[in-house]
Amino acid sequence: MIIGERKPLEEVFDRTSSFNKILVLGCETCVAVCLAGGKKEAEETAEAISLHRKKENQPVEVKAESVQRQCEFEFIDEFKDLMNDYDVVLSLACGVGVQTMVDRYPEKIVLPGLNTTFLGYPLEQGVWMENCQACGDCVLDKTHGICPITRCTKSMLNGPCGGSSEGKCEISGDIEIECGWHLIHERLKALGKLDYMEEVEPPKNWSTSFHGGPRKIVREDVKIVRGE
């Protein structure tokens, strides 16, 4: 899922300081699950803005709401009326949600309340980890389920660099980062498939990733042709 982190409150206060009617809009899908942008976080954020503005002697009207999926028109359409009552939306959805809102309500200012950080999963309570960069040409079959693009800090395709030490990546500091290629090696060893570690993997085609420009998928088979 998409993992996000709430922007620091100081930044939120600063960006919203010129508005007097603020709608804080959470999203109940990915960012709610990662405890960053659901209804609860929207309420906390609204409360914090309200308190801050009181302290600053600049009272504000602020409301917290949440939508099932902020990245789909059919879900955000239900906010049409509510939108008229506010002069800014502080979106706690991921960047996709923010932009979907802008697309639907072009006359409104929509501000991001989250930093969208990565595609990943919860490792344990309170720990999330990135494991896919949506490169557009998945190689997980070759590495048997561990992504070299994401889990290797240098996105290497031919095994670990010389900085891999005791299972840790060379960039490990206060936070330990596992060496992705160490993990791949261990996994292939367990599966009896170490042969792959000897193959020279040619340069990757990055044009299927963001390096080919913003991506768009058009599927004629599922498009709805008006008038039919």
């Binding site: 800090t153 240098k154 996105s155 290497m156 395709l157 031919n158 095994g159 670990p160 660099c161 010389g162 900085g163 891999s164 030490s165 005791e166 299972g167 840790k168 990546c169 060379e170 960039i171 490990s172 060496c179 160490h182 090696h185 261990e186 170490l194 570690m197 000897e198 193959e199 020279v200 993997e201 040619p202 340069p203 990055w206």
Partner: protein, 312 residues
Amino acid sequence: MFAGSNLEKVLANGHFAITGELGPMRGTDLGPCLEHAEHMRNHVDAFNITDNQTAVVRIASMATAIKLVERGMDPVMQMTVRDRNRICLQADVLGGASCGVKNFLCIQGDHQTLGSEPQAKGVYDVDSTQLMKVIKDMRDENKFVSGDEMEAPLDAFIGGVVNPFADPFEYRPARFAKKIAAGVNFVQTQCIYDMDRLKEYMKRVVDMGLHEKCYILAGITPLKAIGAAMYMKNNVAGIIIPDEIVKRLKGAKEKPGGVKAEGLKLCVEQIQQVKEIEGIHGAHIMAIAWEEKVPEIVEAVGGLMPRPKFDD
């Protein structure tokens, strides 16, 4: 002969090769670097020029390499895949080669977050193994990655690095074999301090016959101070400094010449030891911020001077 560089000739003729490392400056004056090169001119066969070493911005390795060519020296132009995509890497190989550079050394490069510009975007379009193959295909097939034909041929002696001290240890010889399959002609190792581990690694390398397909230069770095040794031991991933070495340096504090003399002595002994290991074809001396000591080290090893000379 792949490129006929001085380094390649030395190795191909069965001599124990000696190369020295040069780190370009962090400003526009290349003077100190060229002075170091002149100072070790008669003691090394080639000069390995780092490419924004440790991810710190410096004068480009290609510019430095070309300056050395102009002075009749044989540069090994390091190329990391951290800062350039395949367009720029291939362009720099052409650029270097068109100005007389013959040795190209492909490395991954330390990650940018560890260097002077930690907010930089890393490139990593190809990895170091792929870069070897890219240069090999340019040289042997006359083709760019895209498959397009080059307009004029490339001569290149392709270098790389191997690290017997990184993990997983059991995989390291296979990784070396992969680099050979990708086209590497010579490699230099990470700085050696743990002789036992190097010997174990080389035993496996020799058993696999890799030393017959690729020249191996042992990476040697003299230790100048106990602090430097401790820093490397604790903070540089992929370098192993055994406790005995630290102990030996500490024990030398009161001796004449102190830690520095002991560090040089240790370095000379290391070169003497690696010379005896089957499969090692030379030594690459990385006397970081101590380049002026290279001639002294080479002379002290014994039997290395004068360096072989070839008529062009």
